[in-house]
């Protein structure tokens, strides 16, 4: 926690990184608000999904957008200072958060698995429905996993920011 706070303090003193964080939050909050309830509208990205937002999904959207908004300036800071940022965990967190609600209850997986089963008969066409059932019955856990991945990514990048500065000294 101290590492994250120290890194955010170090990066945050520069005004442009604060603006980047705000811009990323403004971009990702609507994205999450529309995609998290997608499982209620057949996996579609639609403004109608907003009507199915509840307190839990809104909280997840706020937390994930905030984490991405904190992550982005750290990653940019590292890149600008010639360090490698930890992108894989962050990408995993974002992808799970965005795709899980879109894959649940939509025609996409049955279509995809049906096509794959036609190409590879050994692959059961029923696999798609099993994946959808798993996502539908574990949605909260999947979103929590996305949050955990984003927190890990935040810590990984924060550590690099702090270590990077220490190395220069």
């Amino acid at each position: 926690m101290n590492t994250i706070l120290e890194a955010l303090r170090r990066v945050g003193v520069q005004g442009r990184y604060r603006w980047i964080a705000l811009a990323v939050f403004a971009l990702f909050l609507p994205l999450y608000l529309v995609t998290l309830p997608a499982s209620y509208v057949g996996g579609l990205i639609s403004l109608k999904a907003l009507t199915f937002l509840d307190a839990k999904l809104t909280a997840f959207a706020l937390v994930m957008a905030a984490l991405v908004a904190l992550l982005a300036p750290l990653m940019l800071y590292l890149i600008r200072h010639g360090h490698r940022s930890a992108k894989s965990t962050a990408a995993g967190g974002i992808l799970i958060g965005v795709f899980a609600p879109m894959l649940c209850c939509s025609p996409l997986l049955p279509l995809l698995m049906g096509s794959l089963a036609a190409l590879l008969p050994a692959l059961s066409g029923a696999a798609g429905i099993k994946v959808q059932y798993f996502i539908a019955t574990h949605q909260t856990e999947l979103l929590a996993a996305a949050v955990v991945l984003l927190v890990i990514a935040l810590y990984q990048n924060a550590r690099k920011v702090v270590q990077g500065a220490a190395c220069r000294i």
């Binding site: 579609l44 990408a91 795709f99 995809l112 049906g114 019955t137």
Partner: protein
């Protein structure tokens, strides 16, 4: 993250976005309209056939009880029940065969839990899909798929997610067929 991982992520995003843009809501697997195949379902242990709805305008809706879209859509349809009843439009809600192998209530129990007002609505029926109905009408195992069938027994639309497509269902319920059949 290596460049190829970003490409994979982009490809995944496009794989999702492209079908959406192409109209993911149209699930018809052949040219519309086409004759509704006869298929059977069970209700209270009795086997019934779609031919019982002959000469009526109806919606056959196949759902899985674990599906979020189905639950949300059932509530949306409950709100629209009076409008649908006014036009004599029939709705046959059938749980997917064996609920896709997942535990859950039967169609009647599903409605009792999430939209109890529908149980007292005369134009709504509930049942369980037979294996033959699954083979005939939902071989791809969509958790949520419906067919809009006119008085001539022709399927006029195949779609999903009434949460998004309710207007199309209502338009269909309001419209009489060109041959002027009576619902």
């Amino acid at each position: 993250m290596p460049v190829h991982t970003w490409r994979l992520a982009l490809a995944l995003l496009m794989a999702v976005a492209a079908p959406v843009a192409a109209g993911m809501l149209d699930l018809a697997d052949r040219a519309l309209p086409y004759p509704m195949p006869d298929a059977t379902f069970t209700r209270d242990g009795q086997t019934h056939s779609l031919t019982e709805l002959k000469d009526r305008r109806y919606m056959l809706w196949l759902v899985s009880t674990w599906c979020h879209t189905c639950i949300a859509s059932l509530r949306v349809m409950e709100h629209a029940r009076n409008e649908l009843s006014r036009h004599g439009f029939q709705v046959l809600l059938v749980r997917n065969h064996d609920n896709d192998g997942a535990p859950g209530p039967d169609a009647h129990g599903f409605a009792r839990r999430f939209a109890p007002a529908l149980l007292d609505t005369s134009n709504w029926r509930f049942g369980e899909a037979s294996a033959q109905m699954k083979r005939q009408l939902n071989p791809r195992q969509y958790p949520d798929i419906y067919f809009l069938v006119d008085e001539r027994g022709l399927v006029q639309a195949v779609s999903t997610a009434p949460t998004v497509t309710l207007d199309m269902i209502l338009d269909f319920a309001r419209t009489k067929s060109a041959e002027g059949g009576t619902p």
